[in-house]
Amino acid sequence: MRIVPALCDRAIPLERRRWASGAVSLDAALAGGLAHGAVHEIYAAEVADAAAAAGFSAALMAGMTGQVRTSLWLRSRRAARQGGSLQASGWAELGGTPGRGLVGIVPDALTLLRAAVDALHCPTLGTVVAESWGRMPELDLTASRRLALAAEKSGTTLMLLRIEADPVPSAAETRWSVASAPSRALAANAPGIPTFDITLLRQRSGPSGMSWRLEWDRDQCIFRETALPGAVVPVSFGGPVADRAGGAMSQVA
């Protein structure tokens, strides 16, 4: 009776499937997890956090795509030149399946967005990452709305990875700012597992402004919360520090 799960699988997108990240307070803030079939914007807090933002995207991709689906990583030519080439071994070590992944290098932002829309029309694709460096005036409200609609229709998730860019109004479901965070040292002072400081800058229908420090557990493909010491939180995150120190759950209007 394989038809039953098939029907269930098709029925779920109507009420929007969500991927539970594993970090309890994060999932609570997102009403159950990160939505499939939506556009999520991921901003690197600084240019030097490009690798952290890419790693965060790769981690989300690994978590949301699973082992059987194909994922597509689109990069602008500038991203490939300045950010370094994407390594399959490093990708695999973040839990991804680079063997099933595709990497696209496109010449400019407009081509990037067109390719992303095309990819979003493809329902069997798991996740699409579109990485761009610098300002992207082509990504206006209309363009992002188009992306969001395409994602919603097919159920494919798009992550717009923006480096060296300032947030602009868009139709994205969520907007994140990602910075790298000091990891918990392993034995003999070795660098630990990937750790990120993330801030939910905006959410379409829900609270925003909270920050978390997350560790990515590659083996189980989930995030783990680590204590976010109040002293380390940079002022640039904005909002009262007390909100984050206590559970990071209070609503920000």
Binding site: D49, S89, E93, T124, P182, L186, P194
Partner: protein, 486 residues
């Protein structure tokens, strides 16, 4: 020049060109003897596969003379010219024409014409062209022309039967009693009394589909409609041979003589007209200078230059979206579409490459060429990432201060910014590729040994840094930043 092959336990000559024959070389001589006589000999090993391939190409070229072609390996081509000789000015003119064509390619050919395939073959090999009288020429052929093996041939010669005519004049019963039925059959075939079944070369129709118009067309919808019709025709033809097209070409011929050619390629063989039309649409959209119909197109031609067999697949009734093998279909289409628009190398698949040098450990192959996903080894559980997500190639130079010369970096400057190292792990020593070095010991050619450190600075950024060269290898090794961890 000679060709040689290993026969038994010796390298023997198998073919000799005219110059070699003049020097006294013969087929069957050992290569060592030939080299001893003529040290300047150019000897090439015989490549049977290449010979067969070339023979087939020649055979296909002969379709210009007749539709029935028989390949006689290793070096013969038979043409059944019944009913087509008059088109080329008679049998003799036709043989000359065909021979001139191959001679122009620089080949040594012998040709002849006979009542049967065997007779023509024997005449070509053992008689002079042109012969005055065919039956007389056949009867005058030496007995080797019967192709019955060395022993039988010698038997005929011992019995005083030197020519085919002499053998054929004998009562067949005695020939059969002495040399077996094969000898009789060979003689009867040669003089045209018995038929031999032949296997003709199959002619592959070029997949060309053309539509000519009474009036030039300019409207884009008409062109799209015509292309769709042509594609349906192509799909039928492809289905007949069980193939699907990998490459398609459209030629738009304008009434003023200009021709515009558009090519597309697909990742998997296809016969889906709508898909091909979409890809052509993409191709037209990606053109630097748009199509200009001018006064209109006189004709449109669709060619399928590249085909591959299609494995028929049935679609599952209860296919789960996103799961199973059937799901690859629209991903393949996406790859095709993007590759047509952005160029074949735009969408790539990362494939492992057998090298321990980090920048050579992966190949980015065009996804349109390698359709199947390639497995990457799974990292061991519980370990942090040991290889970076992003790699700089070439590595970026950094200024490093280390506590001890041989030790890990203490702080480093990359892109004018100072990074204080908080945590580190290493070194992971990756040696150069010594087998690329000259003389085994010289450094530099195969690359120096690199000592890699995984470091994390105080702000939590993780880097992959290496020292290029051991202190034993060079006095002042440089430091480089090779990659970034998440």
């Amino acid at each position: 020049m000679v060709l040689f092959a290993r026969i038994g336990n010796a390298l023997r000559l198998t073919a000799i060109d005219a110059l070699g024959a003049r020097l006294g070389l013969v087929v069957g001589m050992t290569l060592a003897d030939a080299r001893a006589c003529h040290p300047g000999l150019v000897a090439i090993e015989q490549d049977e596969a290449a010979d067969r391939h070339w023979l087939k190409r020649m055979g296909q070229d002969c379709f210009r003379y007749t539709p029935r072609i028989v390949l006689v390996p290793p070096d013969g081509i038979g043409l059944d010219i019944t009913g087509s000789a008059h088109l080329f000015g008679g049998e003799r003119a036709m043989v000359d024409l065909a021979m001139d064509r191959f001679k122009a390619l620089g080949m040594a050919v012998r040709g002849a014409c006979g009542p049967t395939m065997e007779a023509a073959r024997a005449l070509a090999r053992y008689a002079d062209w042109p012969a005055t009288s065919e039956p007389a020429a056949i009867r005058a052929l030496p007995v080797n022309a019967l192709d019955l093996g060395e022993e039988t041939t010698r038997g005929f010669q011992r019995a005083g039967l030197k020519t085919v005519g002499a053998v054929a004049a004998r009562p067949m019963a005695t020939i059969a009693a002495r040399f077996g039925m094969e000898a009789v059959a060979a003689i009867e075939r040669l003089v045209g009394e018995e038929r031999m079944p032949i296997l003709t070369l199959k002619q592959q129709q070029p997949l060309h589909f053309e539509r000519r118009f009474a009036d030039p067309v300019t409207h884009q919808d008409t062109i799209a409609k015509v292309l769709l019709e042509l594609m349906h025709e192509a799909a039928l033809a492809l289905e007949e041979i069980g193939h699907g097209g990998r490459r398609f070409r459209m030629e738009l011929r304008r009434s003023d003589g200009a021709t515009r050619t558009l090519d597309i390629a697909t990742g998997a063989p296809t016969r889906d007209p709508a898909l091909v039309l979409r890809l052509f649409d993409e191709r037209i959209g990606a053109l630097a200078d748009p199509l200009d119909p001018g006064f209109g197109y006189d004709s449109i031609l669709l060619a399928v230059p590249g085909t591959e067999p299609v494995v028929a697949a049935h679609s599952a009734f209860d296919a789960v979206p996103g799961g199973g093998e059937g799901a690859g279909q629209d991903v393949t289409e996406l790859i095709d579409r993007l590759s047509v628009r952005l160029g074949p190398g735009a969408i790539r698949r990362l494939v492992p490459c057998d090298s321990h040098i980090p920048e050579r450990a992966q190949l980015a192959l065009p996804a349109i060429e390698c359709a199947a996903p390639t497995p990457w080894p799974e990292p061991p559980p519980g370990e942090p990432a040991l290889r970076p997500l992003l790699l700089f190639d070439p590595p970026q130079p950094v200024e490093v201060i280390a506590e001890v010369p041989d030790g890990p970096p203490h702080r480093f400057r990359w892109q004018c910014k100072l990074h204080e190292v908080r945590l580190y792990e290493g070194p992971e020593r990756i040696a150069g590729e010594w087998w690329r070095r000259k003389g085994g010991e010289q450094t530099g050619k195969g690359g120096l040994t690199r000592d890699y450190y995984r470091v994390e600075d105080v702000r939590g950024r993780r880097f992959w840094i290496f020292r290029h060269g051991l202190y034993a290898e060079r006095p002042d090794p440089r430091w480089y930043l090779h990659g970034l961890f998440a």
